[in-house]
Symmetry: C2
Subunit: 157 residues, 2 copies
């Protein structure tokens, strides 16, 4: 159930300030709850959504330096160090020195990383069905389209 305050704020549809604040509150609730729902189910696999997104990036783009993962994802470089540390500690990726540039690593999925990725994908399907599966396909496309444009329009100037 939505909290009384946001319902009350959304009810004042004639007030532009409240419309904007209400939309922000809905974004916050939808985001926080869906991230928590996903992380809760991923926890037994010892990954979170950020770790999963890096496993996916390595699967989609192949072995990559941290610099490349940063460019692909927009994640801050010190945050990236910690994400890769956690994945390495869990045995899911290896840091190998890149032969052509000894400053850089080549981050590669280990066999266990591949297996964990496969499990995490199944978890993402199941949790995603619960979180988003009630949306009709056309509603989902609408939502993705609106959020995509929102993400572009809210980008820092």
């Amino acid at each position: 159930m939505l909290d009384d305050l946001v319902v009350r704020i959304l009810a004042e549809d004639g007030d532009a300030a409240l419309r904007h604040v209400g939309l922000g509150m809905l974004l916050a609730t939808a985001h926080n709850q869906s991230r928590e729902g996903m992380n809760d189910e991923l926890r037994p696999l010892d990954v979170d959504v950020r770790g999963l997104s890096m496993l996916l990036a390595l699967d989609l783009y192949g072995p990559s330096s941290q610099r490349r993962l940063i460019d692909l994802s927009g994640i801050d470089k010190s945050t990236m160090v910690r994400i890769i540390d956690e994945l390495e500690d869990g045995g899911l990726v290896r840091r190998e020195r890149a032969p052509q540039d000894r400053r850089a690593y080549s981050i590669t999925l280990t066999p266990e990383g591949e297996r964990t990725l496969a499990s995490a994908r199944r978890v993402a399907v199941d949790v995603g069905e619960r979180l988003f599966g009630w949306l009709r396909p056309d509603e989902r496309d609408q939502l993705v389209g609106l959020l995509r444009r929102l993400a572009e329009h809210t980008a820092p100037r």
Copy 2:
């Protein structure tokens, strides 16, 4: 611009795991960027979106105990202490002991709190126009409707 990784993930429309992860990434980006955009402009007024939401609650519901603000907003009680501390430090609210229950406060907007609320509402209108004003009214209604249902469906079980 959206990062390459989320674009790539969203492009794999046939893959259920990637569809769900991609939607989560869009929610995160839209939420984080819009909150930052709003907080950046509210900063000169010495409030953030959470403080503003409490000023709005006090305006909409009248003087209230912290307990009531917690029930209205779903915010944790130790977090509420700090939000009210900040507002009180800024002279925007006063803690008065509730006459009928001396454990509780009656949090009231000060005249300066009313003035700051009026300014913050104007800021919210301006920033909201930039963040959300490009949405057609029917698209905005669609988005609010979808996010509302999303917030209900993603609520912790």
